[in-house]
């Protein structure tokens, strides 16, 4: 893993995500606490990378910072060649719209919207005029066309996660983040969800950054990074 200064120019265009010297410290009751220290990471277009590590090692914090959901305390991140750490929150949101997908452990569907409307959301935020058609097609691809009008609470956990996957892929994202996508599902359902996610990823050619505890799942990825006490290293 090359080590460079945080201000070094970012020029590698085949990379969809590049983080340099990422630091994250928080002020707790016992003083300053380092969660991430000098993390470097590069994700190439279409690459599938697993981040594994024990609970509390900083995996989710890193994922959040890489996705622009949180700001690092130091270092730089480029997402799709844009300097994420120099953008404000709304600029980062605009950058994600339609180009970055998410799959969460707790599904995070909007309870007020139907399955179809949930899937349409990223397209609409990216001003796609054919949102409904594309979303319906995506729902068919995950096998939930007949559940389009259902609200999340009317769906099983597995179905909800399939809707979430449809929502993640509907805008053909260049980059997909997944946080323990099977954490809330039983083994068999989880396996089917993973199969679906990998199949769609292969079809769309998206890069995938996956945080997981699941060793079998990590084995299916191109690369595995191990997070330990705020440090990241290759397996």
């Amino acid at each position: 893993m090359p080590t460079t200064s945080p201000d070094a120019p970012i020029a590698t265009h085949s990379l969809v995500l590049e983080g340099r010297q990422i630091e994250k410290t928080v002020n707790g009751p016992a003083g300053s606490l380092t969660i991430l220290s000098a993390v470097d990471i590069e994700i190439a277009a279409g690459e599938v990378v697993a981040i594994v590590g024990p609970s509390g090692s900083g995996k989710s914090t890193l994922l959040g910072i890489l996705a622009g959901l949180d700001q690092p305390s130091g270092g730089s991140i480029a997402m799709l060649q844009q300097p994420l750490n120099r953008m404000d929150e709304d600029e980062r949101a605009r950058l994600r719209a339609g180009k970055v997908g998410f799959v969460f452990q707790s599904f995070q569907l909007l309870p007020g919207l139907t399955a179809l409307e949930n899937v349409m959301l990223p397209l609409e935020l990216g001003r796609n005029a054919n949102a409904k058609k594309a979303a319906m097609q995506m729902l068919s691809e995950v096998g939930l066309a007949d559940r389009a009008a259902h609200h999340p609470l009317q769906l099983s956990g597995g179905e909800q996660q399939r809707v979430a996957i449809a929502r993640a892929f509907v805008s053909n994202p260049q980059l997909l983040f997944a946080d323990e996508p099977t954490g809330n599902l039983d083994g068999e359902t989880g396996q089917r969800i993973i199969d679906l996610m990998f199949a769609l990823r292969a079809e769309k050619g998206s890069a995938l950054v996956l945080v997981t505890h699941d060793e079998k799942l990590a084995d299916r990825c191109d690369r595995r990074l191990i997070m330990n006490s705020g440090n990241l290293r290759s397996a």
């Binding site: 959040g64 709304d90 949101a93 605009r94 339609g98 998410f102």
Partner: protein, 820 residues
């Protein structure tokens, strides 16, 4: 992102929102607030106008211009230019002679055909007491006479009366003359003739003591304009408006308005509190969704726009339904009131629905904007790590926003910034006190609770902060309901006591000193109780403090009485009553408000002229007079020595149960010169007004009750999420269904009883202040309030809590733990 998408997106969420508990409560609160503001607005608007009209009946017009000389054409023209309808009458004393050559001094009133502009004459034939309807105009050459004259001159239908240079036919008995009360002390019996007959009878020569009156009716703005113009340009004309009329009616009217105003402000504040609770709950629940959509690319502004739009849509939809409900409610009431009013209610105006809508928007925006902005700023990392902080609003900013919103909402109702500030400051203080006492109360209950209530008390303990908020909300809700009950029951009944059924309805004036003994015996023989015989001297104001009075004041005549002691139903405001040992100028006692209007104070001297003789007194004290008592009262009471050897007559008042003209038939002949006046109709109208006001208060109370229920629901709803999670955990850990249920019910009963106790304490204090300072009525301690507060609070909130948390019990623990 365009606005169309924003609206679409907001609408999409709205479908589901309608099933969310807090939004139902929000919509219901908005609906109740708007319905009540609209209904009360429509109601006070229409009934208020009708009440003023009813008060106008006493003048038989909305505005009078009177003068000792004929009213100039210029004045009539100006009234016409303002679109006012007019009528005229001339009043003067004269003498009538019957065919038997018996004569009688009478008070003639010559009226034009449009008279009266407000209210109605009641007429009958002399031989039949059936009221004539429709009321006909007076034919030339006929006179209408009152019962007194009929009794004196023994007149019959068609009798001839000579008045001035010509004969008239007696055509009608005047049963009721709406504006007789305006000149209640006009001494002689009434004879009413057509204005066109004045000239042929040659009644008004130069120097005749006539009073000319132009009567006007029309729109309030035009009336104000007219009144101002007259006061500015027509110095010789005396202007009398509705507010200058009967003080009894005025006080009844202003009290009724205060009742309604108070009730509607309380209703709106309660609904506002419910809105505040519900909107905050809504924003809290949107924190997760906000983080998710921002993860997917939405900006903070997008989120705030969507949430605001959703609130706006709910607010507008609920407001529209509220307006409809308010409109229908007032229609029903207006229909009910029609039977009470002699006239059709004026049409409703567009203002109440607009005010209703503005109130809802102000409440939702004021209480909701801050939580919504906060929801838009919730950290996006919540999607990955739930422990990332949620909605943390600055308590001072929240307080500031809440106060401004409450101020705006109350101001929209009262249009009185000072009053609004006082009310809002009062409510804020109250909430703070409730929260403070609530903490101690919860702590006390926690220590004192028996073992079997452990689970419930533990609930209160776990959520101390939200329990205190709930307690304060419950207490303010119960307080409002208790207060309205207090106002409704206690104050209304005190008001009714003010005007007892046996209030005097007959005045007898012009009793000569030599007749006092005989007349008293006559009344005694008819078993009529009198309040007393009061001496009365007619006097003209000459000047004060050695300076001659100028302008219209010099033309006014006053009835001055003398007394050794403070008259009954009067209270001293300033100064001392005389004890008879004083020397120097004789003492004067003035009615307090009148003295203020005239600019007189203690120690000023006033000179009067009585029968050509000047006499001067010094102001020793001022009195408050209870005009609503209908007892004989005087603006000016003097020490006896001021009026020694002055020509005096006596006046008395009493309650007469029998028919007026039958009972008084023999008096006029036995005691020549005395004049009896039937004021029963005025009393009836004041009573009618009070009844209407009571009805209105009852009606408004209904809305207040609803608003109170909304607050309770919103407060119960505010902890529902926590309760669902907690009860799921308890059930997972082995608590039975009934254990959890009893714990929840007991917790709410406990909260309700505590809130009821706090509310009863404060209701008693506020009730006392309201009676004492606002309604000026005696206060009565009401023990029922405490029972109602504590027992009602425990029962009502226990039930509301149980019903609203049924979902807590029916949600399977696994669902509760997964989704909340």
């Amino acid at each position: 992102m365009n606005i169309l998408f924003d609206i679409q997106f907001a609408l999409r969420s709205l479908k589901r929102d309608t099933q969310a508990g807090e939004l139902r409560v929000l919509a219901l609160s908005v609906l109740v607030a708007v319905a009540s503001v609209t209904a009360i607005g429509f109601f006070t608007d229409r009934v208020g106008k009708a009440m003023v009209r009813q008060a106008s009946d006493i003048l038989a017009a909305d505005l009078l211009a009177t003068s000792g000389t004929p009213i100039e054409q210029e004045i009539e023209d100006y009234a016409a230019s303002l679109g006012l309808t007019t009528a005229k009458h001339v009043r003067f004393p004269s003498v009538v002679i019957n065919p038997e050559d018996e004569s009688q001094l009478v008070a003639v009133k010559a009226v034009t055909s449009a008279y009266p502009l407000r209210g109605a004459l009641k007429l009958s034939k002399l031989d039949s007491r059936d009221v004539m309807a429709p009321l006909d105009t007076q034919a030339p050459g006929t006179v209408w006479v009152d019962a007194q004259l009929i009794n004196i001159l023994l007149l019959k239908q068609g009798s001839t009366l000579t008045l001035g240079a010509r004969d008239f036919t007696v055509e009608r008995l005047l049963l009721f003359e709406p504006d007789r009360g305006e000149n209640v002390f006009e001494l002689a019996p009434r004879v009413m003739i057509n204005d066109n007959d004045l000239e042929s009878a040659g009644l008004l020569g130069p120097g005749s003591r006539a009073r000319y009156t132009l009567m006007m009716a029309g729109e309030p703005a035009a009336l104000t304009d007219m009144s101002d113009w007259l006061k500015e340009n027509q110095n010789h004309v005396r202007v009398i408006g509705v507010s200058d009329g009967s003080p009894q009616m005025q006080r009844a009217l202003s009290r009724a308005k205060r009742f309604l105003g108070l009730a509607s402000v309380v209703t709106v504040l309660l609904a506002g509190a419910a809105i505040a609770l519900a909107v905050r709950q809504f924003a809290l629940r949107q924190a997760d969704a906000s983080a998710v959509v921002r993860t997917l690319g939405a900006s903070r502004a997008n989120v705030v726009t969507w949430l605001s739009l959703r609130l706006l849509l709910i607010c507008v939809a609920a407001s529209l339904i509220g307006i409809l409900v308010g409109f229908v409610a007032q229609l029903l009431l207006a229909d009910l009131m029609k039977t009470w009013f002699s006239l059709a209610l004026p049409a409703p105006s567009w203002r109440p629905p607009v005010i209703g809508m503005l109130t809802a928007l102000a409440a939702v925006a004021g209480f909701g904007l801050l939580p919504v902005i906060k929801a838009g700023r919730v950290p996006v990392m919540r999607v990955l790590q739930r422990d990332y902080s949620g909605l943390q609003t600055n308590p001072w900013l929240t307080l500031l926003f809440g106060l401004v919103a409450a101020l705006l909402v109350v101001w929209l109702q009262s249009r009185d910034i000072l009053l609004s500030a006082i009310v809002v400051a009062g409510v804020a203080t109250m909430l703070a006190l409730f929260a403070l006492f609530g903490q101690y109360l919860i702590r006390g209950v926690r220590m004192a609770a028996p073992a079997r209530f452990k689970l419930s008390v533990a609930g209160l303990q776990r959520r101390t902060a939200s329990s205190v908020i709930q307690l304060a909300a419950f207490a303010i809700g119960i307080l409002a309901l208790l207060l309205i009950t207090l106002v409704r029951v206690d104050i209304l009944s005190a008001w009714e006591r003010d005007l007892p059924d046996n209030a005097p309805n007959v005045f007898v004036i012009n009793i000569q000193p030599s007749q006092v003994g005989g007349f008293s015996q006559q009344l005694e023989s008819q078993k009529i109780d009198i309040s007393g015989m009061y001496p009365m001297v007619r006097a003209r104001l000459q000047g004060s403090n050695g300076e001659a009075a100028t302008g219209r004041r010099t033309r006014w005549e006053y009835n001055i009485s003398h007394s050794d002691s403070l008259p009954a139903a009067n209270t001293l405001v300033e100064g001392e009553w005389w004890d008879g040992s004083e020397t120097g100028l004789p003492g004067l006692s003035l009615e307090h408000d009148w003295a203020e209007d005239m600019g007189y104070g203690i120690g000023d001297t006033i000179t009067f002229k009585v029968a050509g003789v000047e006499t001067t007194g010094i102001i020793k004290n001022t009195r408050q007079v209870d005009w609503e008592s209908f007892q004989v009262n005087f603006f000016i009471v003097a020490e006896k020595r001021l009026l020694d050897d002055m020509p005096e007559t006596y006046v008395t008042s009493f309650f007469l149960d029998d028919d007026f003209s039958t009972a008084t038939a023999s008096w006029a002949r036995a005691f020549p010169g005395i004049a009896t006046l039937d004021i029963g109709s005025i009393i009836t109208r004041v009573k009618l007004l009070m009844d209407k006001a009571s009805m209105a208060v009852e009606y408004v109370f209904f809305f207040t009750l609803f608003a109170g229920i909304c607050v309770l629901l919103a407060a119960v709803q505010s902890t529902q999420g926590e309760r669902i999670r907690e009860s799921a955990l308890l059930r997972v850990l082995g608590a039975s269904h009934s254990q959890v249920r009893s714990a929840i019910i007991a917790e709410f009963v406990l909260l309700g009883a505590m809130a009821g106790f706090l509310a009863a304490v404060f209701a008693t204090v506020i009730g006392w202040s309201l009676s004492r300072f606002v309604f000026e009525l005696p206060f009565q301690f009401n023990g029922g309030l405490w029972v109602l507060g504590i027992a009602g609070g425990a029962l009502g909130i226990g039930l509301a809590g149980y019903l609203a948390t049924k979902k807590v019990l029916t949600t399977p623990p696994v669902v509760a733990l997964r989704h909340t």
